[in-house]
Assembly symmetry: D2
Homo-oligomer: 306 residues x 4
Amino acid sequence: MKECTNQVSHRPFAPGLEPYLNQTTNVLDHGFIRVVDYMGTEQCIVDAARTSYQRGTERKQEDPKLIRYLMRHQHGTPFEMCEIKFHVKLPIFVARQWIRHRTASVNEASARYSILSKEFYIPSEDQLAVQSATNRQGRGEVLEGAQAKRVLTLLQHDAELCYQHYEEMLNDPSSHDYEPALQSLSRELARMNLPVNFYTQWYWKVDLRNLMHFLALRADSHAQYEIRVYAQEMLKVLEAWLPNVYQAFIDYEMEAYKVSAQGKKVLRKMTQLLERNDQLTTLINETIPDRREREEFLLQFGLNMQ
Amino acid sequence: MKECTNQVSHRPFAPGLEPYLNQTTNVLDHGFIRVVDYMGTEQCIVDAARTSYQRGTERKQEDPKLIRYLMRHQHGTPFEMCEIKFHVKLPIFVARQWIRHRTASVNEASARYSILSKEFYIPSEDQLAVQSATNRQGRGEVLEGAQAKRVLTLLQHDAELCYQHYEEMLNDPSSHDYEPALQSLSRELARMNLPVNFYTQWYWKVDLRNLMHFLALRADSHAQYEIRVYAQEMLKVLEAWLPNVYQAFIDYEMEAYKVSAQGKKVLRKMTQLLERNDQLTTLINETIPDRREREEFLLQFGLNMQ
Amino acid sequence: MKECTNQVSHRPFAPGLEPYLNQTTNVLDHGFIRVVDYMGTEQCIVDAARTSYQRGTERKQEDPKLIRYLMRHQHGTPFEMCEIKFHVKLPIFVARQWIRHRTASVNEASARYSILSKEFYIPSEDQLAVQSATNRQGRGEVLEGAQAKRVLTLLQHDAELCYQHYEEMLNDPSSHDYEPALQSLSRELARMNLPVNFYTQWYWKVDLRNLMHFLALRADSHAQYEIRVYAQEMLKVLEAWLPNVYQAFIDYEMEAYKVSAQGKKVLRKMTQLLERNDQLTTLINETIPDRREREEFLLQFGLNMQ
Amino acid sequence: MKECTNQVSHRPFAPGLEPYLNQTTNVLDHGFIRVVDYMGTEQCIVDAARTSYQRGTERKQEDPKLIRYLMRHQHGTPFEMCEIKFHVKLPIFVARQWIRHRTASVNEASARYSILSKEFYIPSEDQLAVQSATNRQGRGEVLEGAQAKRVLTLLQHDAELCYQHYEEMLNDPSSHDYEPALQSLSRELARMNLPVNFYTQWYWKVDLRNLMHFLALRADSHAQYEIRVYAQEMLKVLEAWLPNVYQAFIDYEMEAYKVSAQGKKVLRKMTQLLERNDQLTTLINETIPDRREREEFLLQFGLNMQ
């Protein structure tokens, strides 16, 4: 089969994303992400959302406003109309977190069939943090110099040694010139000697709704650094691809905060204490320029804005 | 196969839900929900969540606090460990909304194989609302008496007529005693004459996480009344089954509000204007008694509570 | 937002599918399918499958053979790497079957927001079949002329009447010029008067693996005619898009047959009775030219082909 | 929360599965499976399937025949009505294969939060196979004694060493009594030094349909031995729980074979060559006793059995 690209297509076309196609962005010491393919534009999201509105619904929002409206009200299905495919190279322990996002398609390199390369992740020194005392899942201060050196030595040494023994067990004739001491152990067994900082790679295809769910969790400051750096690169891809979606996602998901029933009571009390504060009124009008969104906001917290 | 029930089982047992088993709760004029089976208790959710915490994590939250913590931080997977199965009878137009929730298992009565009963939904007079002028998807005022009567007459008449013709086309020998004028039209064709207010029924099985997602959308005041009444009955089932989960769901989902990045700016300004307000400090301590949750809240809005 | 199309894209390009883009194919009396967008080519499937095969796996199958191999062995994930989006107009009772395929994305026209058009499905006379006596879900002989006429009259009359009353209840000022007798009943209520042969429409986006699953069930002779005609048009789209995939799908899914453990015993007995039959040997070599597939076949049925 | 068990429940009860509840079955050297909870019985499957058959479908199959019919015709949804939850301890490289089954719920022990135990998988000597020369993914002959010993030494040594350094990096005060040389490296980083033969554990909850899909792939002889042994134990659980489902699954899935369009041509030729063979007729009647299934079989291969 001969692959066709660089053809004039009648498909919807996303100018901002095209320069990313087949470009490799390095992540960590040996990893990368690469946009392989995509489907859909902001217009496609809008078209799908407007399917709901046929005859009898003349009053239309402008398109970017509609996108913000959909995001704000968590109307997720129109965002499923876009799709993106990445080629990703990543350490196994990162892949183990990533794969928990089930609504996606994956084809991963197999260590049953083929031989893994000698590529493993070693953190940079400024990432070698101690266990946080206050946060069970986070990192605290960076390790001191001598201790950091010791950790790096251990990680480097063990990965080297495990890989050397992996090769010895595999006894791959192409990888050495000495006389093999072993018959080849099957690959599916030999690989079990490799630590989880070794790299794997996969194709990962996901729709926009589920991509954003992934980013909301993995680009968040609570995510482990080693997966967050991938998510941050993908955020840039999202911004280039669908700028209005990106901004709405930042405003209503990434930087938003869910206030509980109890929290709402507190905030309502605050609004009572501040009723008819001109400074506040001005701020609200400037900060939330969209009338509809402002009304929703005021309604939630009982603000009287006369 | 002989069905066994009323046996001593070693399975986790939810005392509050057992009385609901096989009890039919009427909904609308001919519909119902019935809890057929369930799996899991609050302890199961806690056990699953604690799998993450093995050696080295001695500081444990009490169980109900952990449930609230999981809900507040949208750690959804432990809630997937519970499952419930309903038998539901509902109008077709309600079923069409309901089925959009994809992560669930369904077995529906088939009008290709069998003959639908003469049961259709007629709204009660107090539900006959006009189209809302302000809200594209909502209802406004209730229709006046004469007009309501006219609507009810049309709905009743058309459903009766369509069903009469359905039967005539089916020519089911068991449903009449006059000489059939027609060979039986295949059921899969004849059914196309029935309006979407006819009732269908199904088994619907769903995990707790997806049940809550369903309830958040369908028990909400923006949902159409005819599906909301089902969701409201299911909320009661949830409360009886898993009371701490129910309360956390109400506090952090049903009655919560997501504040955008812009909204957070406004709320931060308000906290500045109210800094060191004793009345507010007291209210916050009383309203959000959990220290950890209170700290998260204060952090979001920059409140200084000294 | 201004939509871009007809641009040179670096994305993989499927020459056979491009002519289908935005072309409407009529189905039934008022329905259609239209390919709106797609992602992926046969090369993409092959690339994804080959991710599994890195260093140390030099012996490669040719691409079309690999596609057949993947299909034969139900290696489904590489087929998820392609995606297609259709715009479909279809009767509600067809939509109700279609939507049971859960792994797909849908945006449907909403009768809560907008007013449905007066378009309903009336079967052609040659499709008016009686209920099959032998097959619970199928159709038998075609109705005789007078009876067919009666059925068509009923379907046409009831649909017209229900729609007239729908409009009366809606009281849409744009749809009539007489003095309205009613305030407008809310759309979400009025629509319940419409039979399930009225048309709806939606965007339907699905990956290739799930599209094939849909086609295997819905293009099958046991599917109801009214959904089968849609599936058959989509089969043509598949053939134009991915010809090797299409052929493998026909050979290993659509026209394949699963032989049970018991059936295999019977077939093994037959091969014993026919051992060393030259005519058979020749036939097998001609009919199953691929050596690897032939060996699998012979192995299953214990044929001795020396 | 106080956990209730051993209560009389009104839920459907599976006598064969109850003895398995909370019993641990050892798998590999340190792994296990344990049935934690279940929902549903064969009667539940039958009830769900019969929802499709209401008025007008008097001719009913017996229940076990219906289960076989559903399995044979791949009517999968009634099987989704049963659910089971396992607690599983398994090596990371097995977990990585297992997790690819997306339609399931998982809560896994976290090495970000807690400290992994010193438990790793070492194959038994009879499992130390060489790479198969003919099958890219399989194992061939068992390694010779001296070579096997060398492999076991490498695996044991590297796992011990990596764990020792893991502990050193963690510097867990509870795990040693010497003076720590390091501040504690954060757990999420230290764990990256562990090979994929270390054990993890999780709760895994799945519906019966997806369990069978898992078993069809993972109890198959092509699956890697280390996951197959888990699947084989789960097959026993299935047999105890739902014996008719188990048998139908074996007959129509595990031991069945899909014959391609081309293969069917060959088999039809064979039936021509054997037409009216009495020995064959007798065999068929005995081997496929169900009349309906036998007719389907004969139809596929054009056998004339008069």
